[in-house]
């Protein structure tokens, strides 16, 4: 259940008589060893040192969000913001476990000397208050320590169960203000959880937040589930299930727990994709062994066949404006990337860089297409929508099926280990430098990153 987050206009704070007595804990910034950073290029914001202490509270009271009170919750909020910014290779944050805890009154009036003395260039402070209605109010402030200036602030009211979303919104606020990029932390991922030996692998539909929290298995694993895709409003997941023995696309409604066939057919249907407005689903269907791409209204209706080449046409990903579809076809003799208009006209090949090219995914920004490049090994690459400027983001034995962060700056994919076939979800930024494995309870494949929550 998603609940809305309301932006607060202004947070009226009493400008207290500034006791400036912080509860100083471990005064260390040991891993940074005295920060002195020179801003030298466009990506220098990534080297900014940011202090993220625990969020303060006006009154420690129990909430439904945790077993302890709002003081403990404030530490957790700081940790979530810290981990968001740290784990994605962005910035060089220091978190609440290594910092003094600011008092509630200091959230709007930072103790500048404390933070400049720690060589922090940026400071993220926040607070959490429990409301009488059980909801939480969370404020988030970004300060430039050197300028002693507030750069941006925002506040949200959330259901207690959604407290992590407030922290993600705060991390998004900081990231957007400092990088100039669109936010992406407050988003979710659908994927396939994998357990068991390679020849009897159990594959279950599962979901989690972008940082791996709030993990939930959706299907039991009795039938193989593959290739999920969140609807743009997160209300549904389209995926392939071998329920009843044959591959069919189902649309699972997260609210009701019910699922329906995307189209009634005697033929296998697979590779579901939502249009950006959620009204249309692309799918692939094999008829007498020949696979083509079709589209159908998400609410049901008459399918429309978009390709009719004798080769395999499969997959597909809409451009952000919904006018074009990038897809995969072996009509030339092996897998290559093609673009067509959303009605199936104007099909043309765009990949000419050698090897095979598969699983194209159009960036939400529209400026790149991520795909799987197969030259012996499987690697994740990106190219311009005209097929130029191809470059690899990963170099491993088997990396496939990229999916974009909602801001188009990070790509997730899954990696398969040689021999064991164990799978794991990884992400990498567009520099190819910041690569990391996502924490998942079991093996993981087919990540599908949804949009930023409203």
């Amino acid at each position: 259940m998603l609940s809305r987050i309301t932006a607060l206009i202004v947070l009226a704070f009493f400008s207290g008589n500034a006791l400036a007595q912080e509860q100083v804990r471990v005064p260390v910034l040991e891993e940074e060893g005295g920060l002195s950073v020179t801003v030298t290029d466009d990506s220098a914001w990534q080297d900014l040192s940011i202090a993220i202490p625990s969020f303060a509270t006006d009154r420690d009271q129990p909430t439904a969000a945790n077993s302890q009170g709002t003081t403990a919750l404030g530490i957790e909020l700081g940790r979530v913001v810290y981990n968001d910014l740290r784990n994605n290779g962005l910035f060089r944050p220091v978190g609440p476990d290594s910092l003094p805890n600011p008092a509630y009154q200091q959230i709007t009036a930072p103790s500048w000397s404390t933070w400049s003395g720690r060589s922090a260039e940026m400071l993220v402070q926040g607070y959490v208050r429990a409301g009488a209605d059980g909801r939480l109010t969370v404020g988030c402030y970004l300060y430039d320590v050197q300028l002693q200036q507030q750069l941006v602030r925002e506040g949200w009211v959330v259901d207690a169960a959604d407290w992590r979303r407030a922290a993600h919104k705060c991390a998004d606020l900081v990231y957007s203000r400092l990088s100039g990029e669109s936010p992406f932390f407050d988003s979710k991922i659908a994927y396939i959880a994998e357990t068991g030996p390679k020849d009897k692998r159990i594959k279950r539909l599962a979901i989690m937040d972008s940082d791996g929290a709030n993990h939930r298995f959706i299907t039991s694993g009795q039938s193989t589930a593959l290739t999920p895709r969140y609807s743009p409003d997160y209300s549904k997941i389209a995926y392939v299930s071998y329920l009843n023995g044959y591959a069919r696309i189902y649309v699972y409604d997260i609210g009701s727990g019910r699922q329906t066939l995307v189209t009634e057919s005697q033929n296998p249907t697979f590779a579901p994709r939502w249009s950006p407005n959620g009204r249309t689903i692309l799918y692939s269907m094999a008829v007498n062994g020949n696979t083509d791409i079709y589209s159908v209204p998400a609410t049901g209706g008459t399918p429309r066949r978009l390709t009719d080449a004798p080769g395999i046409d499969v997959g597909g990903s809409y451009s952000p404006d919904g006018s074009q579809v990038v897809f995969e076809s072996d009509r030339s003799g092996n897998q290559q990337i093609y673009v067509m208009n959303a009605d199936g006209t104007g099909q043309r090949r765009i990949s000419f860089f050698g090897g095979r090219a598969a699983t194209p995914e159009w960036s939400p920004r529209g400026d790149q297409i991520a795909f799987t490049h197969i030259v012996g090994d499987l690697r994740v690459g990106v190219m311009s929508p005209d097929g130029r400027n191809m470059r690899h983001l990963t170099n491993s034995w088997q990396d496939e099926a990229p999916t974009w962060a909602p801001n188009g700056r990070i790509v997730q994919f899954f990696r398969t280990a040689r021999n064991t076939g164990e799978t794991s979800i990884w992400q990498v930024d567009l520099t190819g430098r910041n690569e990391r494995r996502l924490p998942t309870p079991v093996g993981a494949s087919d990540p599908a990153w949804g949009p930023v929550l409203p």
């Binding site: 030996p197 593959l226 697979f270 692939s284 094999a286 995969e328 092996n334 598969a358 496939e400």
Partner: protein, 171 residues
């Protein structure tokens, strides 16, 4: 006894048959010795298997319930045709049974493409069975792509064993 003679004839054709495709070293298993000196096995239930069941079919096929494909290919070559002919003979012998052909791929491709490729392979096998007179209504296909490997390694030999179409009798 005519059926036995037919089975023997098929076997000998296979033994002489084309080996142009790079077959996996350990599969399919060699045909059991059915030389003239040994008495021919009874046509059914040598180990109490019920004729027309999957277990009986698999036992009778001696590995020829499966055909193998080259990388990214789905054509049925002479060796595959011999195996499919043997499958068709069985299906003719038990006209009331239905079968499904499972298409599989090796792990060296992307997931969705491999589902499509497995469909091609399963249909190639099915179409050949139909060309031998097996009614299409008795045959279904399913592709598992690379999701259900038979050989677990990540090497050329395992991949060759996994690029396959397996006929399964439905009870």
């Amino acid at each position: 006894m005519k059926k036995i003679a037919l089975a023997l004839a098929v076997t000998s054709v296979l033994a002489l048959g084309a080996c142009k495709k790079q077959a996996p070293a350990d599969l399919p298993p060699p045909p059991q010795a059915t030389g003239p000196s040994t008495p021919a096995p009874a046509p059914s239930t040598p180990q109490g298997l019920v004729p027309g069941t999957q277990a009986h079919f698999a036992q009778q096929m001696q590995g020829r319930d499966t055909i193998y494909f080259d990388t990214d290919k789905f054509n049925v070559d002479a060796e595959d045709q011999a195996a499919l002919s043997q499958q068709a003979a069985y299906l003719r012998q038990y006209p009331n049974i239905r079968a499904t052909v499972e298409g599989h791929c090796d792990e060296r491709g992307t997931r969705e493409y491999n589902i499509a490729l497995g469909e091609r392979r399963a249909n190639a096998a099915k179409n050949y069975l139909v060309s031998l007179g097996i009614p299409a209504e008795r045959l279904t296909t399913v592709s598992y792509g690379k999701e259900r490997p038979a050989a677990l390694g990540s090497n050329a030999e395992a991949w060759a064993r996994n690029r396959r179409a397996v006929t399964i009798v439905l009870n």
